[in-house]
Each structure stands twice: as C-alpha cells, then as structure tokens.
Subunit: 214 residues, 2 copies
Amino acid sequence: MTATKRVRLSPEARRAQLIELGVELLATRRLDELSVELIAQSAGISRGLLFHYFSSKQEFHTEVARAAAAEMIRRTEPDTSRPPVEALRGALSAFIDYVEENPDNYKSLVRGAASADLEMRAIFDNTRATMAQRVIDVIAQLGFELSDRADLAVHGWVAYVEECVIRWIDSRRFDREQLLEMLTKSLPAVALSASDDEVGTLVSILTDQKPIEQ
Amino acid sequence: MTATKRVRLSPEARRAQLIELGVELLATRRLDELSVELIAQSAGISRGLLFHYFSSKQEFHTEVARAAAAEMIRRTEPDTSRPPVEALRGALSAFIDYVEENPDNYKSLVRGAASADLEMRAIFDNTRATMAQRVIDVIAQLGFELSDRADLAVHGWVAYVEECVIRWIDSRRFDREQLLEMLTKSLPAVALSASDDEVGTLVSILTDQKPIEQ
C-alpha cells in the first residue's frame, strides 16, 4: 500500500480530506470497521496526527456519517423541473444507484448507526426527514392535500423504500426496472390509503401516470 | 428499594427469571441503559452472581432482546379464525398496544439494537421476518398471488408500520383509530402497487372491506 503524498494543507482542508477519505473507505466496510489505524495509513499520516484534527474516534465517525448522508441527499435530489411522477421516479432511481454502489456504507448508516449515540441518530433522523420532506413537496405538486395521516404515511414510506432496496440488493429476484416501478407506485398507494380521498384518484395514478419518455 | 426475597431456584429458572426481569426493566429504559448493577440490585443478587448465570453483559442483553422480541411476536399473533382483514386489523391493534406500553423498549430493539452485533441483528431480522410471514399468510387467505415483488413489498411494509407507529407515539396528531385504519389499508395498497393485478381489486379492498362488527 502506498501512502498518499504529503501536501501542506490548512487544518480545515486536511480535516475535510480525512472525512472524504473516510466516506470513500465506507464503500467497502461498515462504519464501525473504520479504524483509526486504517484511516491514518490510507492518508499517510500518523495515528497521533489524526487526533490533531479530531478530538476522538467517535467525532471522526460522526463527521464521516454526516458527510456520507449529505452525499446521498445531494445525489438523490429530485429534478423539480420535470413532471412530479418523473421527478419521483428519477430520485428513486438515483437512490437505488447510490445503495447499489455503497451497500455496506448504506446499511451501516441506516441500520447500524441508528445506535444509542444521540448525534449519530440525529444524522439518521435528519436524513430520513429530508427525504420525506422532498416527497411531501412532490405530492403537493400533484395537488393532494396532505393531512397529518398522509404526512405520517410519507415518513413511513421512506422506511419502506429503504427496507425494499436493502433487501432487493441482497436477493435481486427481479430486475431493477420492476423495483423502480413498484417503489414509484407505492408512494401514491400509501399516501392515499392514509387519506379519505376518493380511491379513484389512486387508480388513475397507478394506471395512467406512467413516466413520460422524453 | 427492597430486594426481592431470595428463593432457591434451579439455575435455569433463575436465568429465566433474570431475563424476565430485564424485559420488565426495558419498559422504561433502552437496552444499552440496562446495567449489570441495576439488574443485580433489582433481583437482590450480587453483581458477581449475575455472571454465574450469564457469561457476559452482552450475553445477558442478547437474551433479554430475544425474550422481548418473543413476547411482542406472541402478543401480536393474528386470530386466523377471523376474516383476513379483521385478523390483520386485530394484529395491528395489538402491535400498537405493545409499542404504546413499551415505547423505549421497542425503539431500542428496532432502532438501537440493529447494531454491529450480529446476534442482535439476527434477532431483529427474525422478528421482522416473522411479522412479514404472518402477513404473507393473511394475504394468501385473501386469494392474492404473491409475486417476488409483492413478497418484498410485505417486508417493506413491516418497516413502514414500525416507522409509522414509532412516529405516531411521539406526536399523536390524530387518534389511534385513524392510525389503525391507515395501517390496515396500507397493506393491500403496497402489495397491489407491487403487482400487475388489476387495480380494481385494490379499490374494492380500500372501499368495501371495512372490519365487520361482531
């Protein structure tokens, strides 16, 4: 293993570089497997120097988790210039891509990191809340009134999507396109099952609003 | 605090008693807050004697989590002698009751305990799998063919229900009956959004299959 070249960087830049390196290493291991030794070795610095930038291993792990969550949020940003169902479908497709590229990282963040550590849990909760809020915006564009129940349904739906994608990755018993289709349809399904709206609206979404080819 | 009366019990009975005590204490604290000192004090035994029955604090925690999961599974057993939608509704109602009575315990098991510990994760995964399998049985009774996609949807739905109930407990922005109604409806909604079935089937379930008063 070759140590990366030592370059003089500001403390902030060095800190950001170490966090980025941590996120990259997460692609092939869980957060709790990210040892101080591995990071120091990969960065070509001493173990002691790492603690010049981070007060503890826990602080380093928290910042890596925060950066990984921010990257996922950025990559799955819906394109709101497109029709709502397409924007939703695009965001879900980006989400599947992200989980496929970072399965260990993602499982670690979603399942493992939701631990007793309050700061780590806050990162996880904020990530889910951001994903839910985006969806709520898309639904508002579709013209649905969001009752408290429908709002809860959207938050539950984020957990549904996470669970489906994580399980699908492990088994792949049908193709990616079918997964994307079922996830896209499941949102109006749960939102409307939580409302008093006429189910006819649901039917039209499930049958007619196929993604438009552009 | 009065120590409970010391009674001569077989090692197996004493072990079971300590696990049961651990489950009871979980009602008001998370698993990671369940210290050896607290258990020993509550059971009226010495810290050292606890380790006569369990090889480590981790083993004790694992057994407590297993027992808590088993109790939840037992309490939410659907009554299969009833019509499927009613059986589903009854099981969901028992699940809401369980989470309401043991909110910290439940959050700890669902969110916290899904940690890096493999045995703990297996308990969590088995619990979800058991809940999903029950639902798959109920759906089969409803006469739906379960494709691989619908099977995945049911597993995702368990995560959906967990998330909805946990969030509802914290905010209670609408009444319990409305929560129960939306959760009951969400199952056919996601199962059918994951299938190629005629959506008309979904409509009939969402509109007509209200629970029968007996």
